[in-house]
Symmetry: C2
Subunit: 245 residues, 2 copies
């Protein structure tokens, strides 16, 4: 970091403002902290750091190329998100998750997602339905390739559309955070045999229920969707009954 302070902002000013609104400069002045936060979070979610692994601050400084101030604030953020735990007299580690916690997360997801899905089935406009249709078609194309990460992204977009169409930003935020805590679990869940088939099938059930404005059917399908995932997760996590993942 000897050589700092001139990293971005070198785009030539050749952009043309088509209207008055777009003249506005609201460059969210991307701070180092935000970049570091995103990088580190993604790294943890992607499994670049194993659960339980120590996150030594000075090491992270080298790895991310920022100072400890930044790293520490990022760690506080991730700690509050539940992705990082801080062991006393030891410092931050990647959060572990056991079946007791994972199960709770699936429970909360059921409570929130069924609510959102039912609400969407009641009120969805045609634009929302169109969007969901598109997402599902993408998912169908990709699920044949069995690419877990792509499927995960499409699944996320599917639910995001549902949550946001009903104005449930806060609930979606909660679900997103919970999902990040079980991200590795979700990837493994998706890799399981048949999941790449049953998952999209359930989502299509949900979609059809939304199409015909049937909240109850949507709720049922959504609950089934999550409980199937939870079941697979349990089979991965529960037998050992130790803090895996």
């Amino acid at each position: 970091m000897k050589e700092t302070m001139n990293r971005n902002l070198f785009a030539p000013t050749t952009e043309i403002a088509p209207n008055l609104e777009s003249l506005r400069i609201d460059t969210p002045p991307v701070t180092l902290r935000e970049m570091a936060l995103e990088r580190l979070r993604n790294a943890i979610i992607a499994g670049l750091f194993s659960p339980g692994q120590r996150l030594v601050e000075r090491t992270l400084c080298d790895q991310l190329g920022v100072s400890r101030s930044v790293i520490r604030e990022v760690l506080r953020h991730l700690e509050t998100e539940g992705l990082v735990e801080t062991a006393p007299k030891q410092g931050p580690i990647v959060a572990l998750i056991d079946w007791h916690q994972a199960r709770q997360i699936y429970d909360v997801r059921i409570a929130l997602e069924t609510t959102a899905v039912a609400d969407c089935a009641r009120n969805a406009d045609s634009a929302t339905k169109e969007k969901l249709k598109t997402v599902l078609e993408d998912l169908d194309r990709n699920s044949r390739k069995n690419d877990a990460l792509t499927i995960l992204a499409a699944t996320t977009e599917f639910y995001e559309t549902i949550f946001l169409s009903g104005g449930h930003e806060i609930a979606w935020d909660i679900v997103k955070r919970l999902n990040s805590r079980i991200s590795r679990l979700r990837v493994m869940t998706l890799s399981t045999t048949n999941r790449t088939v049953s998952g999209p099938a359930r989502m299509r059930e949900i979609f059809n229920a939304i199409l015909r404005n049937d909240p109850d059917a949507a709720t049922t399908a959504c609950r089934a969707h999550i409980m199937e995932a939870a079941k697979i997760a349990e089979s991965l996590l529960a037998p050992t009954d130790e803090a895996k993942f």
Copy 2:
């Protein structure tokens, strides 16, 4: 902070260890950060800082008697919790809340609390029922005094008992955070006429349903309890349709 590093730990070592387990020293070495976090969070919840008010870092340093490192990490934590927002080019302010958000929070509470209450009604053991009885009796005693904060604490304990009895720590954590974001709203809600009557009445309904292991009745009462609160909150917040509180 010229004079640091010898703040606690001066308790004389005259404690007697009644058994081997209690010999263990797990003093969570209370860090400045934890203390500052709690203080600042409480101050915001208590309304010592008005919503929208700027939280100038150096000023907070003086007020809390700690350095900016500590303050900034605490602010990151509170920001992630949703109690503080950071306006670009301006810095941290106490988070504002409008009816759109508050409503969502009540929605999520309904989803999570009805789930917990129903679960409790299905599985509650006698110890839990006893605990709830005690809490309710305390509440009855205090509700006559119309002390909003005391009632709030009792209400919190009531729900905490329900959540934790079913092992729903994560859901409770979420609810706690959401509640802190509408804390001022809750206090005002409680001050409303009749709320000091209808609130405990609803909680007794919930309690009775739990006593006789009736999940459906418990769910219904719980939903009614929250929706009544939301209704009052709406009347306080919605008409203006501006970012109050």
